[in-house]
Symmetry: C2
Subunit: 140 residues, 2 copies
């Protein structure tokens, strides 16, 4: 029997393409191909096809008015990161962000600067938490 289809979550190959597009803001197929097609041994039409499918899925938008069509991501990188992270958190970390963060931190490689930034974020979170967590409150 069939499988139920996934919401709007990019596949592996799609995510690789998104990474390039996020980096550049907007790109042509050829630019994406040059960046990852060659090093990954993927053909030009493969990249094209994927980008067409991604456009159908709503992951990308394309401007057809210019000749080599220009593609952009419909959603910002941060939003997708958030979604992917939330998904992984649910599926592999029992929905606990704490243990996820701890694992990520233990993975070394964080620069001192990043660590400082994380600490600052922690400060904000804790103050928010203690003062007022109910943001919505404005309306009655």
């Amino acid at each position: 029997m069939p499988r139920k289809q996934n919401p709007r979550k990019p596949t592996e190959a799609e995510l690789a393409i998104l990474a390039v597009i996020w980096e550049r803001g907007q790109t042509t197929v050829r630019e994406v191909f040059n960046e990852l097609g060659e090093e990954q041994g993927v053909g030009y039409t493969t990249v094209l096809k994927l980008m067409q499918i991604m456009t159908e899925k709503g992951l990308l938008q394309k401007d057809v008015s210019v000749r080599p069509q220009v593609f952009t991501a419909t959603r910002p990188r941060s939003q997708m990161q958030r979604a992917l992270l939330g998904d992984l958190m649910d599926r592999a970390f029992s929905g606990s962000p704490g243990s996820l963060v701890l694992q990520a931190l233990s993975m070394k490689q964080s620069t001192p600067q990043e660590l400082r930034e994380i600490r600052r974020m922690l400060d904000e979170l804790e103050s928010d938490e203690s003062v007022g967590d109910d943001i919505e409150g404005g309306a009655q």
Copy 2:
């Protein structure tokens, strides 16, 4: 043409099963089925088939000597979490753990206790870092 196959990364359905097995330490097919088969509308033989495939892939081990066969995970949850996290970090976060952690933290829901623990982890990391991380030029 074909697709290149993934290393030893569990699929979505496999991960759902792993979650149950990690929780219980060891399980029978029926236990897994009771836990997620019913609520997800998946049949018993589906769960069984998946667990058989997972065993072939090396994700699970089964003890055939007892009657309802008993399955266990071959690798601890933390190791898999680490691998999945690293994978996501590479593919969606440009390999930067910092921004991943920040995103995860901003997803709130972290309990104060978790925040404290994260802070402690940060302390450890920073002390490690300041002591023995500067491989480059001598200390001055």
